[in-house]
């Protein structure tokens, strides 16, 4: 199973968080939203014109920009 960036997943795909390469501020926000190593993330849809990712982690739906999703490594499922 390959480790890829979260931003490379397509709509409907999911992955398990392997690493967070986020600076302090982003790391805090992600942690508060439930991003932790070992958590499963599902991509619900991708925004048009390289808009944000609409994703589900646990029972929370949220949106995240592709540039920020670049900093999250996942093991693709």
């Amino acid at each position: 199973m390959a480790i890829v960036k979260l931003s490379t997943l397509a709509a409907g795909e999911s992955g398990v968080i392997a690493a967070l390469h986020a600076e302090d501020e982003l790391y805090h926000r992600l942690a508060a939203m439930g991003f932790r190593i070992g958590k499963r993330v599902e991509i619900l849809r991708l925004g048009r014109f390289s808009g944000p990712l609409h994703l589900r982690i646990g029972a929370t739906d949220l949106m995240l920009r592709r540039s920020d999703a670049n900093k999250i490594d996942v093991t693709a499922e």
């Binding site: 439930g34 609409h54 929370t60 949106m63």
Partner: protein
């Protein structure tokens, strides 16, 4: 008096709970150590008066945002007898961290698991008894929206307060050092008290999102929803407005004029033509304002605004803004002041400043009433909604233009993470309470300015007394002619110039002051204006009104939120300059084309 602090993450229904427990009695107030106003109320609980304070929604007690600092400073500078933590039960998996942080601080707390009804629909079950035992604090399941579990919470709060003692914290951050410990505790509590299904059921929200967030249909649908909302406000508001106008006219002719018949003419003029006409003209807009706030509250409470942020983020990011800026821009359509304050959720100063520079271009409800009046006076009933819609487009266009021009000065790379809550339909009670709060706020603000404004306009247009009112030789006329070299090229005559000057204080005064300047109200004023102005002049006036500085409150808020006089000045000068330029291009262009 004992003090209760209400704490919770954003989107947990904390405010709904606050409204339910305080009724409509809440007031904003100042608190030691905190630079922003917080909503608070005094309520009778268990035979004693207690004070309850609604703290801003936060994710984390040691986060970096302004709101998180406000909460920390509040707890460091004010003693608290009891903390009520409101969590969204569906998201307990991650929200429990806030409870454990509060526990670390040693604050006496009660945990309210809100939206229990929604969690049940998702198949999430919680064992409150077990959780209470493991956390060492009372836990209550609740639905603030429908009121279930509310009595339990209320009684429990009363009992807890009887034996509580005030706690005040110093150096809050030092007490919160062990993140790993919180994570470990969280896993331990969650494992034995909460059950979450492996896959959330494919519910209504997913089905609605498939349509409303559709790659191609999403944006057109969003603009359609907005357009229909404004149409509906017009459709339902116009008959109500006509009704209020009729009542005010009839009352004046049947009761006030006979009563004041023998008063000195100056006093009679001031009271009837000044205050009554001025305030009355503004009063006719109250039904439309109420409808506007009601519809906006519904759209906001359903969760559609965060979808709007999703749809617009791709565009906004190219303008140096983000989806939240767009939502604040939309909130600005109600009133710019709360929208400016809402930018506190942004952590990067440059992103905040750029958003604050853009918000004053939002066509707020006070400007809306000016435009409704003038479009009704000058344009046909068929054209009026289109004219109004075009002004909304101008509002967006000037905002976007401003962002593009200033994005280099205010560049930022703030991460953009936003929750997308499930769709919720607010209850009738929620809608009415929300609408009432907004309208009360509007009336409080407006009534102060309006009475003072219309009196001042009346004095300026009636002194000196030996010349015809509002003519070139009155004080107002002189001010108008002083500005004419600047305003003639954009088609704004002396009477309108006075209205514009007063509009600088508050747009609520503009129509009231026109009523005083022309000495007429309602239908009479509309007919006179239609006679004196053509559509090009009227539209130029509306463009200027739309784009120049919204009001003194907005300016004051810009200053207090940015803590910079230079930024405030930039905002004023830029909007005045842009307003003049656009009106000039429009007016001269339309005239050149032969209109």
């Amino acid at each position: 008096m004992k003090r209760i602090a209400l704490l919770g993450m954003p989107n947990t229904g904390k405010s709904t709970f606050f409204n339910r427990i305080t009724g409509a009695s809440s007031r904003t107030g100042n608190w030691p150590g905190v630079t922003v106003d917080l909503l608070g109320a005094k309520i009778l609980l268990g035979g004693a008066m207690v004070e309850i304070v609604d703290l801003p929604g936060i994710y984390d007690l040691h986060g970096f945002s302004d709101d998180e600092q406000v909460v920390r400073h509040f707890l460091e500078n004010n003693s608290v007898d009891q903390v009520l933590i409101v969590l969204n039960t569906s998201q307990i998996e991650r929200q429990l961290s806030l409870v454990l942080q509060v526990k670390q601080l040693g604050l006496p707390a009660i945990l309210l698991l809100n939206m229990a009804d929604e969690a049940k629909k998702f198949g999430i079950t919680v064992d409150p008894g077990k959780m209470s035992e493991m956390l060492g604090l009372p836990v209550v399941l609740l639905s603030a929206k429908y009121g279930t579990g509310y009595q339990n919470a209320y009684q429990l709060l009363g009992r807890m307060l009887e034996k509580s003692a005030p706690v005040r914290l110093d150096h809050l951050k030092e007490l919160l050092s062990q993140d790993d410990r919180v994570e470990f505790e969280m896993d331990r509590v969650l494992k034995s008290t909460v059950q979450v299904p492996a896959q959330l059921s494919d519910n209504l929200t997913s089905r609605l999102d498939r349509i409303l967030l559709h790659p191609w249909l999403g944006l057109p649908l969003f603009f359609l929803v907005m357009y229909l909302t404004f149409q509906a406000i017009f459709l339902f508001g116009k008959p109500l407005q006509d009704g209020v106008t009729w009542i005010l006219d009839t009352f004046r002719h049947a009761a006030l004029e006979p009563f004041f018949a023998h008063f000195p003419s100056v006093l009679k003029g001031l009271l009837l033509d000044g205050i009554y006409n001025g305030v009355g003209t503004v009063a006719t807009f109250v039904p439309i304002i109420i409808l506007f706030f009601l519809f906006m509250a519904i759209i906001e409470d359903t969760g559609y605004l965060s979808r709007a942020a999703f749809l617009m983020d791709a565009l906004m990011s190219r303008l140096g803004l983000d989806g939240r800026s767009f939502v604040m821009l939309l909130m600005g359509f109600g009133c710019n002041v709360p929208a400016l304050m809402g930018t506190r959720v942004m952590r990067t100063r440059s992103l905040r400043l750029l958003t604050m520079l853009v918000i004053p271009f939002s066509l707020c409800s006070a400007r809306l009433q000016v435009f409704i009046f003038i479009t009704a006076a000058i344009f046909s009933p068929k054209a009026a909604p289109l004219v109004l819609f075009s002004l909304y487009l101008f509002s967006f266009a000037t905002a976007l233009l401003t962002a593009v021009l200033f994005k280099k000065q205010y560049a930022s790379s703030e991460p953009f993470i936003l929750e997308v809550p499930p769709y919720r339909f607010p209850t009738l009670r929620q809608m009415l309470l929300r609408g009432w709060h907004e309208v009360r706020h509007f009336l409080n603000r407006a009534s102060k300015f309006i009475v003072a404004g219309v009196v001042l306009v009346w004095l300026l247009t009636h002194f000196p007394t030996d010349v015809p009112p509002a003519s070139a030789h009155t004080l107002a006329g002189m001010i108008g002619s002083a500005f004419s070299p600047l305003l003639d090229p954009i088609g704004i005559n002396q009477q309108l110039a006075i209205a514009l000057i007063f509009g600088f204080v508050a747009k609520e005064i503009v129509i009231g002051s026109l009523a005083v300047i022309y000495g007429m109200q309602g239908q009479g004023l509309m007919a006179l204006m239609a006679h004196q102005l053509d559509w090009v002049q009227a539209y130029s006036f509306m463009l200027f009104t739309l784009i120049y500085t919204p009001c003194l409150s907005t300016i004051a808020t810009l200053r207090s939120e940015s803590k910079s006089n230079a930024f405030m000045l930039l905002s004023i000068i830029w909007s005045l300059g842009l307003a003049w330029l656009i009106s000039f291009v429009f007016y001269q262009g339309a005239r050149a084309l032969g209109y």
